[in-house]
């Protein structure tokens, strides 16, 4: 994506919110952290707290109620202090939960890493093993393991760790598969690293966040499972206390002394709830997408907060007029303009080019015209866009939506990402028609076929039922253009329409756009980084740099006699066929001063 974020000036304070403040911004996660911290602290300090021995029995004093003398939470059926047992039991439960998580994470991650990196037979054997582990109900598996190893807290821990290995193995494998085909892994191989070294020094650091996230979300679950096994009498053995066994012992007394089972139950609830809330918070913080903005989901609608609004001129002539448009991005707590003071006009039947390097703000400009910049972080902070003299941003959201597709249509760079992979192309074109016209399905399909013929797809009758992946890049882009044409728009905004295509295909797509423009009197706004494309297509061109238009004029004039220094340098840097090795000699002086 050619977002203009990279070019924002460094002087403005754009400090990212730190992980801590992000976590604390999330109220539920902060509450979870607080509860967990209190519980954890008390559990840690258990040996030094003024509480009685949790295992000291005193049958005479049995089943004291809550708030009785010397026993704040009462006593159980053997006269043991429930508060003491609760604190010591929590200690045990947390310790078991954490160690089971650590074991499961270690073994599961290694399995996931190896099978995701090795693929093939190794992957198959390991993952089918994991599948078998997952196919058993977890409690049955844990019971079987404990049955073999014998009851006891340590064996319960092993059982729970084994049961949870698939979680880690599958998550880690998924991420590793993606990473293993990345170029930096190939690069490490060419640098002489062995497979094991690549796996643990190149891939593992990139997988680590996933492991941490999975750990934070499974600890609570593991504590619950430990409690479950202890409840069944397979975990902690008497007299050792743990939350699950306390619950199990209290179960028999549920009617005459409910507090004996309710108190450990509440503790489990508080513990697991706080860990899960915190785990969700941690996941949100580590998610890079949520980090980049704030913790809200971006909406497809751009927020308008216009500080300046040029007056409506009388007697507008051009079909599209952009006047001092400014779009800004929120970065941290500051708002930084990405494009400033953009003004241009587009006449009927004209092709206007917007050219610039990555980060120059050309795509942001294109998306801003119909309010398609995602908010947050994008906000339109000034200027107007007039279509046939009418201010677009003064319209309601439904009003703007009515313009999209009908009056103004977009063609994007990569048709593979803009076409839905699971729908047939014909259905997608028909959908575009039906969004604006009330016609029957069969008629829409007929029109879709006609459109496909229009954009030069042979055998449109058969290809209408093809899926996007069954078509070549050039054909997909033709479908993209057909969708744009679906409602006879007056303006087409084409954002790098041929960048992803081969030159021979590019030439054909550009010809198609040119023909359509002449035939239908379309106004074409062409966004590109390629001077060759501009030279071939555009009547007029604007050169963008760092979010501003530095030069605007007739294409022939701009290319032949560029006025701005930047344009001159850019054009000089474009190699021309026929220049040969003279090209390098001609650009060498331009960068002579760059040498340190």
């Amino acid at each position: 994506m050619t977002q203009a974020l990279a070019t924002t000036p460094q002087t403005v304070s754009t400090a990212r919110l730190s992980s801590w403040s992000l976590l604390l911004n999330n109220r539920l996660a902060a509450a979870g952290l607080l509860v967990l911290a209190v519980i954890g602290l008390i559990a840690l300090l258990a040996p030094w707290l003024p509480i009685p021995n949790p295992n000291a029995t005193l049958p005479a004093n049995r089943l004291q109620p809550v708030l009785s003398e010397g026993h704040l939470l009462g006593t159980d059926h053997l006269g043991r202090d429930i508060l003491a047992r609760l604190i010591w039991g929590t200690r045990v439960s947390i310790a078991v939960g954490l160690s089971a998580t650590a074991i499961a994470a270690l073994i599961g991650s290694v399995i996931g890493l190896v099978s995701g990196y090795a693929r093939g037979v190794t992957d198959n054997i390991l993952m089918r093993g994991i599948d078998m582990l997952m196919a058993f109900p977890y409690i049955l598996l844990a019971l079987a393991i404990v049955a073999v190893l014998g009851p006891g807290l340590l064996n319960a821990l092993y059982a729970i760790a084994i049961v949870n290995i698939p979680f880690f193995a599958r998550n880690v494998r998924g991420v590793t598969v993606g990473l293993a085909s990345r170029e930096f892994v190939d690069a490490a191989r060419l640098s002489g690293k062995s497979h094991a070294a690549i796996l643990f020094t190149e891939v593992l650091p990139n997988v680590l966040p996933v492991i941490v996230i999975t750990m934070s979300t499974t600890v609570g679950w593991m504590i619950l499972e430990t409690a479950g096994l202890s409840f069944l009498g397979l975990g902690a053995q008497p007299p050792q206390s743990d939350l699950g066994s306390m619950l199990g012992e209290g179960r028999r007394l549920l009617f005459n002394a409910p507090h004996v089972s309710i108190i450990p139950g509440l503790m489990i609830f508080a513990l697991v709830m706080s860990i899960n809330l915190l785990g969700d918070g941690v996941r949100d913080v580590l998610d890079p997408r949520l980090r980049a903005g704030d913790l809200t989901r971006p909406q497809a609608v751009t927020r308008f907060d216009r500080r300046t609004q040029p007056p409506q001129p009388s007697g507008a002539r051009d079909i599209l007029e952009v006047e001092s448009l400014e779009t800004s991005f929120q970065r941290g707590r500051a708002t930084v303009p990405a494009v400033r003071n953009i003004s241009f006009t587009l006449g009927k039947g004209e092709c206007f080019g917007l050219i610039g390097e990555s980060g120059s703000g050309k795509s942001v400009t294109a998306l801003s015209l119909l309010g398609l910049v995602a908010s947050p972080p994008g906000i339109i902070t000034g200027g107007t866009v007039r279509i046939e003299g009418e201010d677009v941003f003064s319209r309601s959201e439904t009003g703007i939506r009515a313009l999209r597709g009908a009056k103004v249509a977009y063609v994007f760079q990569d048709p593979l990402t803009t076409l839905h992979p699971l729908y047939r192309v014909g259905e997608q074109i028909a959908e575009a028609i039906l969004a604006h016209k009330r016609i029957g399905k069969t008629e829409a399909r007929a029109r879709a076929i006609a459109l496909m013929e229009k954009v030069g797809i042979r055998d449109a009758n058969e290809r209408v039922d093809a899926f996007p992946h069954e078509m070549s890049g050039g054909q997909r882009q033709r479908i993209g253009i057909a969708m744009a044409l679906a409602n006879d728009p007056d303006i087409i905004i084409a954002d790098e329409p041929t960048t992803a295509l081969d030159v021979t295909v590019q030439a054909k797509i550009l010809d198609l756009l040119q023909d359509l423009r002449r035939e239908r009197g379309l106004a074409l706004l062409l966004i590109t980084h390629d001077f060759g494309v501009v030279a071939q297509m555009c009547d007029r061109v604007a050169v963008m740099k760092d979010g501003e238009i530095v030069e605007c004029g007739r294409t022939a004039d701009v290319l032949r006699a560029p006025r701005h220094e930047y344009t001159r340098k850019l054009i000089a840097c474009v190699p021309e066929l026929g220049q040969g090795k003279a090209f390098l000699e001609s650009v060498r002086p331009l960068f002579a001063e760059v040498k340190p």
Partner: protein, 269 residues
């Protein structure tokens, strides 16, 4: 002196393996019997569109893929022998520069660590030599000294490509395979990287196999040009001859399709 690379009748077929039931899976002939030679100190360009097999050739030459048949001789040594001696032997003889510079650098490693690997594993230098070499390499690709402590995401595409080139240079191999080294870069940055590559070539006596889809770029850097079409090499000639008088129809179409700056003056004078 022998040629840097000699490739004879090289083939690569993906898929086509027989499964348990004995039926062959769908196979793709990516490279169909290609032969060429890269001379010492030369830049040989391979041009072609997506799917023409040019990247597959590059990946086979550096040992990332194994050819289905045919022989490759790299710096006078048979590639199969090199492969048998392990990936390190390959890395010392031939190096590779990737198309997407940012993706080819591990996002969680500092540049210091990234450059350290080839120096340590391929050259076996001790600590102080490595530190000195890293400074020299950064100097050669014109990057500032503080580059070492920084992470890949702190650099622009052009800077990242300089770092990737420095990593390839670190192995001190004399043959470089450049797979679309400038196609992900903006034009002004592209020109700078081309200049840098040209300079490094004469300074270190390198031979380049330059893979690209951009004819104008290819013409400006290469001595000879090979055109790939659907896995076959349809034409191989000196750059001057090929662009002046293309013999194959496909080459002619490629040249005709390339957008030109002077089109505007032709369109409306």
């Amino acid at each position: 002196m022998s040629d840097a690379i000699v490739v004879t009748n090289l083939r690569k077929t993906f898929g086509g393996r027989r499964n348990i039931l004995g039926s062959a899976s769908h196979s793709v002939h990516a490279v169909k019997g290609v032969s060429f030679a890269l001379r010492q100190g030369e830049t040989l360009a391979i041009v072609g569109e997506s799917g023409s097999g040019k990247s597959t050739i590059a990946r086979m030459l550096v040992g990332l893929e194994t050819p289905s048949s045919g022989t490759m001789e790299i710096d006078g040594q048979d590639a199969a022998t090199l492969r048998a001696r392990g990936s390190k032997a390959f890395g010392r003889t031939i190096q590779y520069v990737f198309q997407d510079p940012v993706a080819s650098l591990n996002p969680r490693k500092t540049i210091d660590k990234i450059l350290d690997v080839p120096l340590r594993l391929l050259r076996n230098y001790d600590g102080s030599t490595r530190a000195a070499r890293k400074r020299e390499l950064l100097d050669a690709v014109k990057m500032p000294k503080d580059t070492l402590e920084r992470y890949p995401h702190e650099f622009s595409g052009g800077q990242a490509q300089r770092i990737a080139i420095a990593r390839a240079l670190a192995a001190e191999a004399k043959i470089m395979v450049l797979d679309e080294p400038v196609s992900a870069l903006d034009v002004s940055v592209q020109a700078q990287v081309l200049l840098l590559l040209d300079e490094l070539k004469s300074r270190f006596g390198l031979s380049y196999l330059f893979i690209s889809h951009d004819l104008a770029v290819v013409e400006s850097v290469s001595d000879r040009v090979a055109v790939m079409y659907l896995g076959e090499m349809v034409e191989l000639d000196t750059a001057a001859n090929l662009f002046a008088a293309p013999r194959h129809d496909y080459t002619r179409e490629l040249i005709a399709s390339a957008p030109r700056l002077n089109a505007a003056s032709l369109q409306d004078p």
